[in-house]
């Protein structure tokens, strides 16, 4: 690793670790930011690198949310009784039970969505282009409606996740716990995605994006790589969902868990805003988007979705390649692209 990179990364890590103390009042927003970055970064693996625009990653996010909460409750108490009539019977987790539960829950929330992604991917990753996008869009919507009918996880009543243990009196502890959990997931996801960026795997994903038939003709088993790529995304989406479920404290089937209309669209939007197909693009996109949303939305009460619509239009028209793509076009030399001035001029003259 180069020295400058080292400075950058250690700086970011220190900032990340210090953030909840520096901006104590913003812990929840910071946790959201970490989760949004994870979602955008992993969506970018499909949408950006592989060229498969998935609207279905919200499925894994919601699945992770329900799984974490269910495991956390189910490990110690009968789940059906917990959710029956919306938590009529109240059980209380001890401190140890709470953390054991959420730990195991998050593990399950990572593995099962990854397996589900494998199974669904096997079935539908043969679809290409719009067909794949529409199919995945349906997945998220269907999951929401199905979850809204399953009694054991609360159905339409919603699922109240276990409250943070009352024995921990510090009211800041909950915020810190969720922030650091999400920060760890963010760091893990970043390391993993960065590793992928330096590997042959990324080149294969790019080959699939640029010309899938040719890639196949070259002897690459594209299906295998497509499925693995989706499983990686699902793994981290599940973790992100699990954290969010605990943080929000209340899971609703269509509005919180399988929230395709918001989270599902946001993750795509953030990746495109920053520049899909780049390592830093989704991160910058998510950060900007989150600040835009938190900072501006309260000033335009009731009109924020109109503003969001305008933002989408602006991005699509003026920054079709995202901020990173725009910068790259403007300052190609900063991205390590060498431009031969003579050659460029001669091309212009030819026209």
């Amino acid at each position: 690793m180069k020295q400058k990179d080292l400075i950058l990364y250690s700086g970011l890590i220190i900032l990340g670790l210090a953030a909840p103390y520096l901006f104590s009042a913003f812990k929840v927003q910071l946790t959201y930011l970490c989760v949004l970055i994870v979602l955008a970064m992993t969506w970018n693996l499909q949408g950006g690198e592989m060229g498969y625009n998935s609207f279905g990653n919200i499925l894994f996010y919601g699945l992770g949310m329900y799984l974490t909460a269910s495991v956390q409750v189910g490990m110690f108490f009968p789940l059906a009784e917990w959710t029956e009539s919306g938590g009529e019977k109240t059980f209380v987790h001890t401190t140890a039970q709470y953390f054991q539960g959420i730990g195991v829950g998050l593990l399950v929330a990572a593995i099962i969505p990854a397996l589900v992604a494998g199974a669904i991917g096997y079935a539908i990753l043969g679809l290409r282009g719009h067909y794949f996008a529409i199919c995945t869009l349906g997945l998220g919507i269907a999951a929401g409606e199905i979850a809204g009918g399953i009694e054991i996880i609360g159905a339409g009543q919603g699922f109240t996740t276990p409250p943070f243990p009352a024995e921990i009196v510090d009211p800041e502890a909950r915020g810190k716990f969720f922030y650091f959990t999400s920060f760890i997931v963010l760091v893990l996801a970043f390391i993993f995605v960065k590793y992928i960026y330096g590997s042959r795997f990324r080149l294969i994903l790019n080959a699939i994006r640029d010309n899938e038939d040719k890639a196949e003709a070259m002897g690459i088993q594209t299906m295998k790589y497509k499925i693995v790529g989706w499983m990686v995304s699902a793994f981290f989406c599940g973790l992100a969902g699990g954290i969010m479920g605990g943080l929000i404290g209340y899971i609703d089937s269509t509005d919180v868990a399988f929230d395709g209309r918001e989270m599902g669209v946001f993750m795509v939007l953030m990746a495109i805003l920053g520049g899909k197909g780049t390592l830093w693009g989704p991160i910058i996109g998510a950060t900007l988007f989150h600040f835009f949303k938190e900072g501006l939305w309260t000033f335009i009460l009731g009109w924020q979705y109109v503003a969001l619509g305008v933002l989408i239009v602006v991005i699509v028209i003026y920054f079709p390649e995202g901020l990173m793509g725009w910068l790259r076009e403007k300052y190609p030399e900063r991205f390590g692209e060498v431009i031969d001035e003579k050659d460029r001029k001669s091309q212009v003259e030819l026209k």
């Binding site: 009539s85 938590g87 009529e88 919180v256 830093w280 910058i284 924020q304």
Partner: protein
């Protein structure tokens, strides 16, 4: 890469500076103001009811401020509310509650609209020990969790339509009835359903159709087709404003004949105005009606509230507005009795609330629900082309007799 890294670092530090400069939060009581916080649905599926709620809050704030404000420690304070739009989304509501408390320094909260959103906010207010008086979260499960800082001025959701089943049985000569029901898949409507299940069990009635309706509700033709085929004695529908509107629209389009139709949210949907004669005979559960004889010194009677509200906002107040206004009366009363801004003292004062408002009597049970006020049922009745809601139950308040059964569509003009 290095250049991008530099750019990124610049960006991050800019953001850090910006954030650090706005971290300073303002206190809850300042310059003679008591600042309350509320996340309200201004957009999304609950937007119409969210606005009813907000109008109710604003009306009460204006009135209380004009009539001398809140007197604490010999000084007069005025109410002020910080609103955020929760987009009818529980996730957003929970986040905004956190923001109101942590960043805006709000120490007292008013509830959002709907049970689902209240369920999402209550754990947050509970965590920070922030007293919340809510007027629009009726789900029974809110009051069984042992929340200490949650107070609801309304009756729990399971009580909404239980009385309607009793009425149906009574009209059937005391014999059990056949019930068809369709409920939206959300916390509130599912609780109304639980109430019906209890009532059915109690009266030995049979539920022959038990459908779920989606949240973005605009079609229930499948349920109505079944109703046409099975001929139940009573049809129960609950799905907030959209549920009420959809039900009336499609029942009249499909000419579904059913002897009794019981619903929720008729007045919030302005049913008698929007659908006129088509909505006649619909039986509706309501927390409040202007003809009830409750009184207080701020709004006078229900009729006066109705008049003042119409003047201010241009439409008749649905019960969502009335109960929201009542929430502020409760807060004012509690502040004055506590004579302090200590949160726990205010909380204890809220707990001991026992008062009458134009909206009804208010006294909180152990779970925080209002136990002093019964639900009422009204029926839409028309004279010529103008339709009105007439109270038919309980008998103490009834202004009209309950009309049963609903005439067949072929006989209706």
């Amino acid at each position: 890469m290095n250049k991008i890294a530099k750019l990124f670092i610049t960006f991050i530090s800019a953001v850090t500076l910006a954030l650090a400069s706005i971290t300073s939060s303002f206190a809850k009581v300042e310059d003679g103001m008591i600042v309350l916080g509320s996340a309200i649905s201004l957009t999304g599926k609950y937007s119409s009811n969210g606005v009813h709620t907000q109008n109710g809050y604003n009306m009460a704030v204006d009135r209380i401020n004009k009539m001398g404000g809140v007197k604490v420690g010999g000084k007069s304070y005025k109410f002020e509310i910080i609103y955020y739009d929760d987009e009818s989304n529980p996730k957003r509501a929970a986040q905004l509650a956190e923001r109101l408390i942590k960043q805006d320094g709000v120490h007292y909260m008013l509830g959002p609209y709907s049970s689902g959103l209240t369920k999402a906010i209550a754990p947050v207010t509970e965590k920070y020990k922030i007293p919340m008086v809510e007027a629009n979260g009726a789900s029974r499960s809110l009051f069984t969790k042992g929340y200490k800082y949650l107070f609801a001025v309304l009756s729990p959701a399971n009580q909404y339509l239980e009385v309607a089943i009793d009425l149906a049985v009574e009209k059937n000569g005391g014999k059990p009835v056949k019930i068809a029901q369709a409920f939206e898949q959300d916390a509130f409507s599912q609780d109304v359903r639980l109430g019906i299940l209890d009532a059915a069990k109690r009266t030995g009635s049979k539920i022959i159709i038990d459908d779920k309706l989606p949240k973005e509700l605009n079609d229930m033709a499948a349920t109505l087709a079944k109703v046409k085929a099975t001929k139940p004695d009573v049809l129960v529908v609950s799905g907030h404003t959209k549920g009420a509107l959809t039900a009336i629209r499609q029942i009249s389009e499909m000419k579904v004949d059913v002897p009794m139709l019981a619903m929720t949210h008729c007045d919030a949907a302005k049913l008698s105005k929007q659908h006129g004669k088509k909505s006649e005979y619909a039986l509706c559960a309501s927390q409040w009606h202007k003809n009830l004889s409750y009184k207080d010194k701020f709004f006078g009677s229900g009729k006066k509230y109705d008049k003042d509200f119409k003047k201010e906002f241009g439409y008749a107040p649905p019960y969502q507005s009335a109960e929201s206004s009542a929430a502020l009366l409760v807060f004012k009363d509690a502040f004055e009795r506590a004579d302090s801004f200590d949160r726990d003292k205010v909380r204890d004062a809220l707990k001991a609330t026992e008062m009458q408002t134009f909206y009804g009597n208010i006294k909180f049970g152990p779970g925080g629900q209002n136990v002093a006020k019964p639900m009422i049922l009204f029926q839409v009745r028309c004279k010529g082309d103008t339709c009105e809601n007439k109270v038919v139950a309980p008998t103490k308040w009834a202004s009209d007799k309950f009309f049963h059964p609903i005439p067949k569509w072929s006989e209706r003009g």
